[in-house]
């Protein structure tokens, strides 16, 4: 890449000028002057070494290597399930791989790759390197924005797009004035030297965009790093007809950020009044695939009345200072338990977790009081059980997500359910240790199978269970409070705008010179690219054309 040659005029300050208006870049940027070979470095002291390491860290080469290292280090996290995005996957992965391998991965933090020490170290180093690069560059650019273009080089003919025109007896002042005007109009910053040449520069926006891009990236990291502490996300399974209040204690699970204070939550109420799911019944190939889910809710914010709202998969509900997302749905069968005397002891509507797109669902039910013993059930619910084994299988999973041929099968356990001991109880899974299975696979007695409206006797004379005709739907909602969103979005837009200007605005210098010779005045034009500039040659030709037209010259050289 050509550099502006040193002018012969000893009084010139062009070299200084040129340096001043160049973007300041790491010394191994290809546009920076090549290091002079053969210079013996003096011995470095501690400060010297620190400065040396700092230089190394902020050099292009280090930044590039760190970038590639980030890309490389991000790979394992996509091969192994991550605790944050796929906790069930992690459990499965751990169960189906040898222990030493799982231990190694755990030790390396691969299940939490993106918050692991090594991944953080790489991107933090990258960002330190970046900051070390952009601070001096920004200060330098601020100065360059206020300085004039550098002095015209003494010889233009070695520069890009060099063009000359024999202008005969044209007036030099007029020619220079016209060149100045043309360049000004094209957005150049212009300076006239000695009344016989114009030096012009444009595209300062390129460096501005470049800096905005990088600063905005740092901004995103800072907002995510610091602001992440103010976020909370909660989950709540809501059965139609029920609701929740926006307090931490009412959530099924919650993951608050480090600085989140539960007292700051807006205590709104949300009631799920209806849930509809539509499935395709038109096309054979996608028969039974979901077309639409809508949750109809009523909400009440403090000091306001009830409002009717809807939540869909792609349109969350904004209420209070949270967004409520519809992330899943399923069925919540209602079961009524009677003791051996026929007295109702418990009626429970229990959400069953969907296992597949046809809503094959599993759940657990516990009856602690009222029956002769404490009883627990694990259930498999199929909204559509296959009626003909020959056509659609043994009926172990649902074949359609809608309630066409619902069926519930239960396995029954008796024993101490642990309510009295205050053991934490998982609402969705049953830990069978200490319990005795009295019906279902492996117990010697068949499990219970019920159709809606049916009542069957419990084994061992424990009483009976009725499967209600009405099967409720539930919606599983995610509640998020994220004050950083808007900042991340702002910075992301800045990243994008900075990227476009930093890549596509050409930074270039242009020179027009009038040289008096024996045969009259010769007009010379040339340019110099600062960074990638695909159209520089054309720009010089264009300038020559416009300029000569303005002077009324024939365009032939």
């Amino acid at each position: 890449m050509a550099r502006s040659p040193r002018p012969s005029d000893p009084e010139s300050d062009a070299t200084v000028d040129a340096e001043a208006s160049d973007p300041k870049r790491p010394s191994d940027h290809f546009d920076s002057p090549a290091p002079e070979p053969g210079i013996v470095q003096p011995r470095l002291g501690i400060v010297g070494y620190l400065r040396f390491f700092w230089r190394q860290l902020t050099s292009m080469r280090t930044a590039l290597l760190l970038l590639l290292l980030v890309a490389f280090a991000a790979v394992p996290g996509s091969l192994v399930p991550q605790t944050t995005s796929d906790p069930n996957g992690v459990i499965q992965y751990k169960a189906s791989n040898p222990e030493w391998w799982v231990h190694t991965l755990e030790f390396l933090g691969v299940f939490n790759t993106y918050s692991s020490v090594w991944f953080s170290a790489i991107y933090l180093l990258l960002f330190i390197s970046l900051v070390g690069c952009i601070i001096p560059r920004t200060m330098h650019h601020a100065k360059a924005l206020r300085s004039a273009p550098p002095r015209t080089p003494s010889r233009l003919d070695k520069l890009e797009g060099y063009t000359s025109i024999d202008a005969g007896d044209v007036d030099v002042d007029k020619a220079i004035g016209a060149a100045r005007a043309v360049l000004r109009r094209s957005g150049y910053r212009v300076r006239v030297f000695d009344g016989e040449s114009v030096s012009a520069e444009r595209g300062y926006l390129r460096e501005t965009g470049n800096l905005v891009f990088h600063v905005a990236l740092v901004g995103i990291l800072a907002v995510v790093g610091v602001g992440g502490g103010f976020i909370y996300t909660g989950q709540k399974v809501v059965i139609v007809g029920q609701g929740f209040a926006n307090t931490l204690s009412d959530y099924d699970s919650v993951s608050p950020g480090r600085w989140f204070n539960g007292d700051d939550m807006t205590p709104y109420q949300l009631l799920l009044t209806k849930f509809t799911a539509k499935y395709d019944d038109q096309s054979l190939s996608s028969y039974g695939e979901a077309i639409d889910y809508t949750a109809y809710v009523r909400t009440r914010e403090p000091g306001r009345g009830w409002e009717n709202q809807t939540i869909k998969v792609n349109s969350p509900l904004h209420v209070g200072d949270t967004d409520v997302y519809l992330l899943g749905n399923g069925y919540a069968p209602t079961l009524t338990f009677r003791n051996p005397k026929g007295k109702v002891v418990s009626t429970q509507t229990v959400p069953f977790l969907s296992q597949d797109t046809n809503l094959t669902s599993t759940g657990t039910i516990r009856v602690a009081n009222g029956l002769p013993q404490q009883v627990a059930f694990t259930g498999l619910f199929l909204p559509t059980k296959c009626a003909q084994v020959a056509y659609c299988g043994a009926g172990l999973s649902s074949i359609h997500p809608d309630l066409i041929n619902p069926s519930l099968s239960l396995q029954v356990y008796v024993g101490d359910l642990g309510f009295d001991k205050g053991k934490p109880i998982n609402a969705f899974t049953l830990d069978p240790t200490g319990l005795k299975q009295i019906a279902g696979r492996g117990s010697g007695k068949p499990g219970l199978t019920l159709k809606p409206g049916q009542t069957v006797k419990l084994p061992d004379g424990l009483g009976s269970v009725t499967f209600d005709k009405h099967i409720a739907r539930y919606a599983s909602l995610d509640i998020h409070h994220d004050p950083t969103q808007i900042w991340v979005l702002t910075f992301a837009i800045l990243v994008f705008l900075g990227l476009i200007t930093g890549l596509f605005v050409p930074r270039r210098r242009m020179w027009v010179k009038a040289v008096k010779g024996k045969d009259g005045v010769k007009l010379e034009y040339a340019g110099l690219a600062r960074g990638e500039d695909a159209r520089l040659k054309e720009a010089v030709t264009d300038l020559a054309q416009k300029h000569s037209q303005l002077l009324g010259l024939n365009m032939k050289p």
């Binding site: 940027h29 290809f30 546009d31 920076s32 292009m60 080469r61 930044a63 590039l64 970038l67 590639l68 980030v70 890309a71 991000a74 996290g77 996509s78 091969l79 991550q82 944050t84 995005s85 796929d86 996957g89 993106y114 070695k158 890009e160 797009g161 060099y162 063009t163 000359s164 025109i165 995510v224 395709d280 038109q282 096309s283 996608s286 695939e289 979901a290 077309i291 869909k312 998969v313 792609n314 349109s315 997302y325 995610d478 998020h480 994220d482 979005l489 992301a492 837009i493 994008f496 990227l499 476009i500 890549l503 960074g531 990638e532 695909a534 040659k537 054309e538 030709t541 365009m555 050289p557």
Partner: protein
Amino acid sequence: MNQPDLATYSVIAIYSAMTVYAIAFICFALDLARRASLAKGAAIAPAVPLTVSAGSGSTALLDRPDAPASGDLDGPIGRVKRSRTARLGLYFTILGWILHVGGDVLRGVAAGRVPWANMFEFSVTMTAIIIGVFLFVQFWQDLLFLGVYVTGFVTLFLGLATTEYYVAVSPLPPPLQSYWLVIHVFVASLGTGFFGLGAALSVVQLLAARRVAKGLRPIPAIPTPERLETLAYRLIVVGFVFWSFTLIAGAIWADHAWGRYWGWDTKEVWTFIIWVIFAGYIHARATRGWRGSRSATLAIIGFGAVLFNFTIVNIFFHGLHSYSGL
């Protein structure tokens, strides 16, 4: 005409496009073979000086250089007239493209929405964009030497799509019912198209650089490695802008659909990895010692990651994007 008919015509159009592309591929291959034999023959002839560099130092004519100028391909041979086989290849590619786009549009009409909601549709649209960019670029630069790569790649990819990824027209599942599907996925396929061509140029650049290093004469009408690098850079930079947009648009959509703008989902991770690799490419182009073959290698690795992301990640990796898969 009812919907299944339209979908069937769409598939027929796409199969026809594949056939025509295959013919175009043969034409381009013959053309390349011809050029290679020309280069061999010329090696016996007295060597043309290799140092002509138009533009600098000469008192140039004031003609506009954006008209097809010999200086643009400033190899020592200058601009070689397109051979009949190359022109035939171009015409077949145009014909194939018309069928291809027709098939894609029919698919969209049959489905009543944009034709890029699953892997099959995305493959068809993305390859149509690759060919589109390839054809469009011909107005600006003679890049017919890429014809073999482009038609070959697209024919193979369409073959993969029609045999392995094909799914019948189906309505959109709720998570995809968003205008972001129109924007996010389309821009992603635009980015893929530009990266694909950029990587192709980088492959040719590496081959050309090896020829130069071995002291062999360049193949006629294939630009110098430096020129190829510049062309590749310009395409990849455009692809990078599209990819950045895809990333941001995807984050906004994820925030609407899943309640968070970023969650290190496998597809998000790979989109990020690709973005970082190409960011690395752009930095490599500005780092002393990394221009040339090293940055070209990065561009090729980057496009490799794009393909990996689309095929392996979609099919074998578990993630939130999986409903768009098979």
